[in-house]
């Protein structure tokens, strides 16, 4: 049980978040402001409130909220007249695909470039990677997206500006989304590999006559993965931040864009549903990370 610290706390986190959402929505006085368009009449608001029980005492409302939660019932979306949960669950797979691909690309690229940079610290390749990752970490993703659209879609017409479809629709969104994680992870891999390559047990491997390849990929890499996994875990949550922007820019029908649209349309039911779905996904991710950690580091197993 102690191996699953991350997951445990994400679980608590989720609970906290859902509580927060509940209280936030009740805190602002009249919840109907959240659900109805701004120009709704007072009479409509009253009817709405009575219908959804917003004039009941708080604890009753809370009870109902929890029950609804367990049924995964967030109410109906006002703009689309369907169950909010259904809408959220439809949008989520698109985001999942986008984010996982971006993470995979960033991860693979980071391991490759970071390892190569670590072999010769201070060398040409290393400095190039450092500059790239620094730049990657400094550019706002929406701006990069705009420039890319400008060059590749508007001027050159090679890639589409928005929507889903074949491979060409994926190129720009993936690039923008993977840029910052690639830069960050690359730096971490590099630092970690430099540490591992200069550690005493690598000297032992040299003394045994091991080849360079074995040393990098068998001895050093496995030890460097531990901090990388930790950072990757923190990053994954932040990838969702990026997803919101990328989906908005490129019209990707994922949960990020759904939330923004819902905010614009004041569709609170959808917002709530989206939050829950996202939180669950993060929980699953953290569980996987915990497992990875145990598998990779025997010291954790026997602590």
């Amino acid at each position: 049980m102690r191996f699953f610290k991350r997951s445990l706390f994400t679980l608590l986190s989720m609970a906290g978040l859902l509580l927060l959402v509940f209280f936030l929505s009740r805190m602002t006085g009249d919840p109907s402001y959240l659900f109805l368009p701004l120009d709704a009449s007072p009479a409509d608001r009253e009817a709405f409130s009575r219908l959804h029980g917003f004039d009941d005492p708080v604890y009753v409302q809370f009870g109902r909220y929890v029950v609804d939660l367990l049924h995964l019932d967030f109410g109906r979306s006002l703009s689309q007249q369907r169950s909010a949960m259904d809408i959220a669950l439809e949008a989520f797979p698109h985001t999942l695909k986008l984010v996982s691909m971006a993470l995979a690309i960033a991860f693979a690229g980071a391991i490759l470039c970071g390892s190569l940079a670590a072999r010769r610290p201070g060398g040409v390749f290393d400095r190039l990677i450092s500059v790239l990752s620094l730049t990657g970490a400094s550019t706002p993703d929406f701006w990069v997206a705009i420039i890319l659209v400008l060059i590749f879609a508007v001027s050159l017409g090679w890639l589409p500006t928005s929507g889903v479809g074949g491979p060409s629709y994926w190129v720009m969104p993936l690039f923008v989304l993977a840029l910052r994680p690639f830069g960050l992870l690359g730096q971490v891999v590099r630092g970690s590999m430099i540490g591992a390559l200069s550690s005493p047990y690598v000297k032992t491997a040299y003394a045994k006559g091991a080849s360079q390849a074995k040393i990098v990929f068998v001895h050093a890499l496995r030890n460097s993965m531990l901090p990388v996994i930790t950072v990757a875990g923190d990053l994954a949550a932040n990838l969702l931040n990026g997803a919101v922007i990328v989906e908005t820019m490129f019209g990707w029908p994922g949960i990020g864009r759904l939330m923004i649209d819902a905010i614009m349309q004041r569709d609170f039911a959808v917002i709530q549903a989206s939050i829950l779905v996202t939180a669950c996904a993060i929980l699953v991710l953290n569980i996987l990370l915990d497992i990875a950690y145990v598998v990779l580091d025997p010291r954790v197993r026997h602590a």
Partner: protein
């Protein structure tokens, strides 16, 4: 040797440089060495002498850059290792030349099992039919080096073994392909004293059995005297003396050799406080001192048992007396120090300082206690705040206990203290990183003296220093004791060191006191088995004990017991 003969290993004119922040450092500046089959050569030197660098060159594991071999050759059975193509060079490592490192925990890969790492040697050089065969060979090796239950332990990880066992694992890895030459770089330094002898004996057995050449790198003359046939003494990158070990030690030619021999704690050169038989007033009295730690497991928190770090320890420290507490790692001696300084609370038992219960003191009384009892720590690098000047460090007790001296007089007091410990006034404005280890300990001692304490607790205060520096610091401590009427509690794992310095010695094992008596009694007539074990482990070989103060009559000597 009149006929042409190729030694097993011949290093000629080797020069190695390092480029660093302050320019170029010549770590090895022209050394010549030979090793024959079946013989043991000890390379003896202190830290920074270049001994480990030389070993790294032979093994081809030197970091280049920042290191660079600028001259010389290293011939193994006639072939120049430095001129070999990399692929061929790689084949020699592990199969014909092998190395045993100093710190086995750091040198074993934490994420692979011990068996896997030993078997790797076979796999790399293609000497096993398959993975299962390599594993069997690894298990056989583990048994040979004395690891019990080898078959089941082969799948365990380095952190699950003790220090001594890990070193056995490293020895197994080195032996795997029966190499012709083994380099052992300070193989026992990181281990407990009793374990050290076992490992050295193991190495000697294996060498006799397999007839390989052994290069033993060490800073410890006793270890060299025990194991080696020939010795090469290295200082500042050059060899100052070499030859048969007995000749070198009994009739040394170089001044440095004499200096090293003089630093060996010698029974004649004691610095005890002298006045025996007189019972002076007690200062610090410990009774049944006990400290237990709860071992808890998992989230549920059910305790898996308690660990008794200190088990009913008792003693009386009198004025102007020096008490030595000797034990290996895990003996509880450091916990006792922490209890005496009230850095932690005991589970039971008491400590009385001048008849007041230490653990009940509060406020002004506690502060007064902290004035009177000071501590010098083991780590000269960590015990001084790197961002403070020496003056600020030494004056800190004055800043904490404002009633000792008005601020205006701090500068002079600092200078006075610097002088007392053998440093210069201009050192006051410098920062710790500008000093060597021995000098930093002097600064730490000056700091301890600032509040005019009655008792100084030295927690392994000289253990991290070179042997020759250790002797200097102990002399300093003895001088201060005589000048300032101090009492010491001297905690160490090194029994010989404390023999020259302490009036009484307390031997600890697993938290409890196993023997306690006057120094000479303990050394000449030890009552407990463990004490006997410690004594024999730290023993200097008989032929070395007969070396007189290795000086000519005119050489300066430390005073003996009867000096005024």
């Amino acid at each position: 040797m009149t006929e042409p003969h190729t030694p097993l290993l011949a290093i000629e004119g080797l020069k190695v440089q390092f480029s660093g922040p302050r320019g170029v450092v010549r770590a090895v500046d022209g050394i010549n060495l030979t090793v024959e089959r079946g013989e043991t050569l000890a390379i003896l030197g202190e830290s920074g002498s270049g001994k480990s660098v030389s070993a790294s060159v032979v093994m081809n594991i030197l970091d280049m850059p920042p290191g660079r071999i600028t001259a010389g050759s290293v011939r193994f059975e006639g072939r120049d290792l430095l001129a070999m193509p990399p692929a061929e060079r790689r084949k020699i490592n592990g199969s014909e030349i092998a190395i045993i490192f100093q710190d086995p925990l750091a040198h074993l890969n934490p994420v692979y099992s011990v068996g896997w790492q030993i078997a790797e040697v076979f796999r790399i050089h293609g000497r096993a039919r398959d993975a299962a065969d390599a594993r069997e060979k690894a298990i056989a090796l583990m048994e040979r080096v004395g690891i019990t239950n080898a078959r089941s332990r082969a799948d365990q990880y380095p952190h699950q073994f003790s220090g001594g066992q890990r070193q056995r694992v490293m020895i197994a890895m080195a032996l795997a392909l029966s190499p012709k030459l083994i380099i052992a770089d300070e193989p026992t330094t990181a281990l407990d004293v009793t374990v050290q002898r076992q490992i050295l004996d193991l190495l000697k057995d294996l060498q006799r059995e397999m007839g390989m050449g052994l290069i033993l790198i060490t800073h410890d003359l006793a270890v060299a005297g025990l194991m080696a046939d020939r010795v090469a003494i290295i200082k500042d990158g050059t060899i100052v003396e070499s030859g048969g070990i007995r000749e070198a030690f009994t009739a040394p030619k170089a001044a440095y050799t004499r200096q090293l021999l003089e630093a060996i704690p010698h029974v004649e050169r004691t610095r005890r406080s002298g006045e025996e038989g007189e019972l002076r007033p007690p200062l610090l009295v410990a009774r049944d001192l006990t400290k237990e730690y709860q071992l808890s497991r998992g989230l549920v928190g059910s305790s898996a048992g308690t660990l008794r770090a200190v088990d009913r320890v008792g003693f009386t420290l009198r004025e102007k007396q020096t008490l030595g507490i000797v034990g290996e790692s895990g003996s509880g001696k450091s916990t006792v120090a922490r209890l005496l300084m009230r850095l932690t609370e005991p589970s039971s038992g008491s400590v009385h300082y001048r008849d007041r219960n230490l653990f009940l003191l509060r406020g002004a009384e506690l502060l007064a206690f902290r004035r009177d009892v000071q501590m010098v720590f083991q780590d000269p690098y960590g015990s001084l705040n790197p961002k403070m000047t020496v003056a600020e460090i030494i004056a800190e007790p004055l800043a904490i206990h404002r009633d000792i001296l008005p601020r205006a007089q701090w500068r002079d007091r600092v200078r006075e203290l610097l002088g007392l410990v053998g440093l210069k006034p201009e050192h006051a404005e410098r920062y710790p990183h500008q000093f060597s280890g021995g000098q930093r300990q002097r600064i730490a001692i000056a700091r301890a003296l600032a509040s005019e304490p009655r008792i100084i607790i030295c927690d392994e205060a000289v253990s991290a220093l070179d042997v020759s520096i250790q002797a200097q610091i102990i002399t300093l401590l003895a001088d201060l004791r005589d000048k300032l009427d101090l009492s010491y509690i001297f905690i160490t794992h090194d029994l010989p060191v404390v023999r020259s310095f302490a009036d009484e010695i307390m031997v600890m094992k697993a938290g409890a006191v196993v023997e306690h008596g006057r120094t000479d009694d303990l050394f000449l007539r030890p009552r407990d088995d463990y004490t006997r074990k410690l004594l024999s482990a730290g023993e200097i070989p008989a032929w070395m004990q007969r070396i007189e103060t290795v000086g000519h009559p005119g050489a300066p000597r430390a005073e003996t017991r009867n000096a005024p």
